[in-house]
Chain length 261, copies 2
DNA sequence: CGTAGTGTTGAATTGAATCAAGTGTCGTGG
DNA sequence: CCACGACACTTGATTCAATTCAACACTACG
């Protein structure tokens, strides 16, 4: 009910769209992996938990089969049931405005938590779908709360995760309310860069899992503007773009653009 | 250290800037009031707590003396120590951009919680100051965490408060990324309206505690645009404005503006 | 191989910013 | 209690960044 239409392509072996594939030999979409052995456990929910605590967390985590591009984790106003941790691939959250066009509210990379907007109203405030072949750990919220009550470390950490989300959202508020198109784009690219770095992927070369249109909706700009800015940044020698492939050639200069504001 | 320069005007008896003063006879800035007897306890942290639980919460709440207009609760990158519940008056959070000009990231009315952006980084991400003579309950976060661990109700409720903040921030993301100046303003006024209603003040007549410039910074618009939009909405007969005094004359029409997007 | 989705580029348009010049309001100190 | 100064707000003229409209190129996938 709250999960979208998964594909039947459960054994998909497609190489992930990351420029630098992870070192681990296991398929990143592998369903049979515990929190304890997950290469993301240092960044995800298990952070700061002891071995036995991680084991308890493991018990409540549901590892769904992989999601195909476009599959939904949940849809706007579905009943809130779980939060999700991205194990591989990437997702976008979006809302549909009354006139039909969507607005992207967030992108999620491995190790990041999805769905916290539904906690208070008991309904998800947006829809979330996979941008590519991806896999997810689902954490039923009632059980997460119960376990948090038992494990102060987990409670502390989940407060921190939510606080971080709040801080990030406020940065975006500032970005949208005062940055130019170029500043927004530079900031977005730098943000992606550090998020890829966090999961040990190259911070300077990566594939964008989302379309220009998605980025534009996220940054409050049109596709055309996105395209023009990418071209402009490339002409200035700050980045190299080829379709979804991006290379950041001059991080300092990009940072200077953002800070200029 | 983390609190700004409070004034010595502890016994200030000024009538609060609300259009409809609260029914309670006690001074709304009164320092000596317990959570149990606070008229906001149905909307604030004590929600859903039992009598004895409220009593325990009471023990950790610090009721500082009132803040004068402009006094700071904390400043950007101060060490995170507490979250704050507004008891009376109002506050704004803002960040200063490198070129010196500020961007307002939030307004806070009675019963609302301030400071959650500092939880994860252990530093406040913005500065927060009083917009008028105001009073606050300070809740040291370490103790709030400890108590949440003991009281599942409190843990649950604080998760909900944070989730609500996240959902709200995402709505603003959408607003900033796709609404026109008029839509933003209408949405802002309707938002204020329901927040005043929540604390039993008139949803149609209220005084704005913040300047046009504050609103503009919050909505990503200039003061001049704010002024023009207010005038335009007034000419259309949707609102009546006189300085800080606002009356919403046609809520449905305002809603229609917002939904039009 | 064809088609739908994605991306690019150009020209015209426009909503809001900027620049500029005021008036109104409030709190303070003389 | 009034006068002063600082700040808050308004209104108009002009500019500009980004959107819109339009046409086309690329790619990827069934």
């Amino acid at each position: 009910m709250n999960t979208g239409n998964n594909s039947s392509d459960a054994e998909g072996m497609k190489i992930p769209l990351q420029a630098n594939p992870p070192v681990a030999k296991v398929c990143p979409h592998n369903v049979n992996i515990s929190c304890a052995s997950c290469r993301l456990n240092e960044l995800c929910l298990p952070i700061a938990l002891s071995k036995s605590e991680v084991h308890q967390l493991d018990e409540i985590v549901e590892r769904n089969r992989p999601y195909k591009k476009g599959d939904h984790l949940y849809r706007q106003s579905d009943e809130f049931k779980s939060v999700y941790a991205v194990r591989s691939g990437s997702f976008k959250s979006y809302v549909l405005s009354d006139n039909g066009q969507g607005r992207v509210t967030g992108f999620f990379l491995p190790g990041e938590i999805i769905g916290m907007d539904g906690i208070s109203s008991k309904k998800y405030a947006n829809s979330t779908s996979a941008l590519e072949h991806s896999s997810i750990c689902e954490i039923p919220f009632v059980q997460l709360e119960r376990l948090s009550h038992q494990l102060p470390n987990l409670q502390h950490h989940f407060f921190a995760i939510m606080g971080n989300e709040i801080a990030k959202d406020q940065q975006i508020h500032t970005l949208l309310s005062s940055y130019t198109a170029e500043e927004r784009t530079a900031s977005f690219l730098l943000g992606l860069s550090s998020r890829y770095a966090r999961v040990s992927l190259s911070p300077t070369r990566f594939l964008l899992p989302m379309t220009r249109s998605d980025i534009g909706e996220y940054l409050g700009l049109t596709v055309e503007t996105m395209s023009r800015i990418f071209t402009a940044l490339q002409r200035k020698g700050l980045i190299a773009v080829n379709n979804r492939e991006v290379e950041l050639l001059d991080i300092e200069a990009l940072r200077a653009i953002v800070t200029a504001s």
